[in-house]
Amino acid sequence: MEKIKSLADLKRIKENVQTKIDLREKSEQVENLIQIKVAMATCGIAAGSKDTMNYFIENLEKNGIAAVVTQTGCMGYCYAEPTVEITKPGKDPIVFGHVTTERAEEIIQKYLKNDELVADIIPVNFETI
């Protein structure tokens, strides 16, 4: 073990280990962050929702967007899988259909960054917990 000999050493170690608890710290304040739920039931996984989820996780960070990505069960839109529900703080959730990795990129650039809506939004009229 290399000893910590200065404030700078401590800061460097802190930066290196920050990712270990990032997910937990974000979840503590979910209500202030963008929440992205990827439907990960059988049909979703078959349609590639796993790639979608990974894409979001990797690229949100690159784009400097603070968000929490979780998976949910079947949302009932099997025809439009992979489906993704996005809730911006203080706004109603929006469900996007057919979210391939390309579409995920489009959502990041347009909706998440600039609040522009994209095609293929599924109307939702129910409350979820």
Binding site: I4, K14, V17, Q18, L23, K26, E31, V69
Partner: protein, 596 residues
């Protein structure tokens, strides 16, 4: 690629007792089977404060809060929650009022009103991994003190924060550090008081188990401020898990160079050792604690001299409680002006309480000073169990007193509790309902005091014994009005003349129950009745002739043949013979037997 999901499993004493470590093993096995070990991380944390419903498993990022999880549930959590994103409904915490499952911890009344400073990392990080502590700004406070602040500046910051001791006395921490810093000596000591002797209190244990580094960091900060290079933790040997976690933490801090010589390249050095206590309540008193560490009998001595002047091995010694220390790093990082905005005029910050008794959510909670008892009992505690009526809440343990209905809206802080006839103590909070007998409650605490008195001074050794005998006499229905006067007078004498804090506060439970529940004492003494129906000797068993059908079942079960009656005719209890065992009441199918 970082983990997508974290599963936090409580590794505190409470949850480990129900095999939480096996849940971890099972979860890891199941994840491996599904090739998910790189996507989902399982972490053993410290106590969530919800031990009664343990083992606790929390899934993040969705904050799902599972209670009473068994190792066999691991598979379902992985298959349903992790893979399919469906929460396992039957393991979710149920709201005690609405009886509905609560989807995540953000919606639990238990956590809503809490503000966690001392417990900031408990149930959040892996206490055996120093890196997780560092990621939570751990050791940044120590770094800031050593590299950017002079010792006096650190002391001033603590003074400005308004932090007062959480071990019971409520003495201003900054002032205490200043005293210790003023004395010159070849060696000074920082002592962490982890004796925690109040019955039912476990906040210090939880902090040491869940976030040991916060205590270590604070001790080093204290050492830097007062000019000490040695730290000692006095911990009871009955806390094996806390001891093990502290040892691991000290070892890791040494490896990282955060304890030892020339910390952060400065000329400040600091080391910490553990000292074990045998679990005597009086050894929590600082002078007794110091004698015990020196290898002498754990008996208190007169103050002054205060430990700050002459403590361990006659050297200047600063003694602080675990929870007090756990607040220090947060104060240094966020600033005294952040801390002193929380709380009330003269009590700053938060306090951890061990909520127990007849309450729905039993557990460890941390609330800002100034929170009312009503908020604690009804919002965080979820109200009284089984819809019963609230009667009293005991705070301050064996040194404290009972508060009643009329105190429910008093903002909790050091001074308000004292003014209401109780005290903060170390933070025990036992809620009582209509079925609790207050004379018995006072007797219970006196029993404890008699047991724990060191015997050095007469008022405490003999006086408390007499108090206990008199209380016992009253619960037997043999008390007189003179006894009540004796209780009051003797209590005052003990308070005035006992040598240490144990004796000086031990009559408080008696005085406060007499003050608040005078009628209940009268009922025991004059009417020979226990209104709560707890004092066995005062119970009268009685058969209601209207309800009794004369089946004879009670008579056959009475061990002393106290029940007589013809078949199919109402039966009677011979109260002179009855030994009040309650068998008849239990057996009667027609609810004809009652007590009055």
């Amino acid at each position: 690629m970082s983990y997508k999901m974290h599963i936090l499993v409580c590794g505190g004493t409470g949850c480990r007792a129900s095999a939480s470590h096996q849940i971890i093993t099972r979860l890891e096995e199941c994840l491996k089977e599904k090739n998910l070990e790189d996507e989902v991380q399982v972490i053993a944390t410290g106590c969530f404060g919800f031990c009664e419903k343990g083992p606790i498993v929390k899934v993040m990022p969705d904050n799902t809060f599972y209670v009473q999880v068994k190792p066999d549930d691991a598979e379902e959590i992985v298959n349903e929650h992790v893979i399919k994103g469906r929460k396992v409904e039957r393991l979710l915490y149920k709201d005690p009022e609405k009886k509905e499952a609560v989807s995540d911890s953000k919606h639990m009344g238990f956590y809503k009103k809490q503000l966690r400073i001392a417990l900031r990392n408990c149930g959040f990080i892996d206490p055996e991994n120093i890196e997780e502590y560092i990621a939570r700004e751990g050791y940044s406070a120590l770094a800031k003190c050593i590299t950017k602040m002079k010792p006096e500046e650190v002391i001033n910051e603590i003074k400005l924060s308004g932090l007062r001791g959480r071990g019971g006395g409520g003495f201003p921490t900054g002032l205490k550090w200043e005293f210790a810093s003023k004395y010159q000596a070849d060696q000074k000591y920082v002592v962490c008081n982890a004796d925690e002797g109040d019955p039912g209190a476990f906040m210090d244990r939880s902090i040491m188990e869940g976030d040991p580094h916060s205590v270590i960091e604070a001790m080093a900060i204290c050492g830097y401020s007062i000019g000490a290079t040695k730290g000692l933790v006095y911990i009871r040997a009955e806390y094996p898990l806390a001891i093990q976690r502290l040892k691991t933490a000290i070892h890791q801090a040494e490896e990282f160079g955060l304890l030892g010589e020339n910390i952060f390249g400065s000329n400040f050095s600091f080391n910490i050792e553990l000292r074990y206590g045998a679990g005597a309540f009086v050894c929590g008193e600082e002078t007794a604690l110091i004698h015990s560490m020196e290898g002498h009998r754990g008996e208190p001595t007169m103050k002054p001299p205060f430990p700050a002047e002459s403590g361990y091995l006659n050297r200047p010694t600063n003694v602080n409680n675990v929870e007090t220390l756990a607040n220090i790093p947060a104060i240094i990082i966020k600033g005294a002006n952040w801390f002193n905005k929380i709380g009330t005029e003269r009590s700053k910050g938060t306090k951890v309480f061990a909520l127990a008794g007849k309450i729905n959510n039993v557990g460890l909670i941390e609330v800002p000073m100034g929170t009312t008892l009503r908020e604690v009992i009804y919002e965080i505690g979820g109200g009284i169990k089984n819809g019963k009526k609230f009667k009293a809440v005991q705070t301050g343990g064996p040194s404290g007193g009972c508060l009643t209905e009329k105190h429910l809206d008093v903002p909790i802080d050091f001074d308000n509790l004292l003014a209401s006839g109780s005290m903060m103590g170390s933070g025990g909070m036992i809620v009582m309902d209509e079925d609790d007998c207050m004379v018995s409650v006072a007797k219970f605490y006196l029993e404890f005091t008699v047991e724990e008195s060191c015997g050095k001074c007469t008022p405490c050794r003999i006086g408390n014994k007499r108090l206990h005998e008199t209380l016992d006499k009253i619960t037997q229905g043999k008390g007189t009005m003179e006894d009540l006067e004796t209780l009051k007078n003797l209590s005052r004498v003990i308070k005035d003349t006992a040598l240490c804090g144990l004796g000086q506060t031990s009559p408080n439970p008696v005085l406060s129950t007499i003050d608040n529940f005078y009628d209940e004492y009268l009922a025991h003494i004059k009417d020979k009745k226990c209104p709560a129906g707890q004092c066995k000797a005062l119970l009268m068993f009685h058969i209601d002739p209207e309800l009794c059908i004369g089946c004879g079942l009670c008579a056959r079960n009475c061990p002393v043949d106290a029940i007589v009656g013809e078949r199919k005719e109402p039966h009677f209890i011979n109260t002179a013979k009855c030994i009040k065992c309650g068998a008849c009441m239990e057996k009667c199918k027609f609810k004809a037997v009652s007590t009055r």
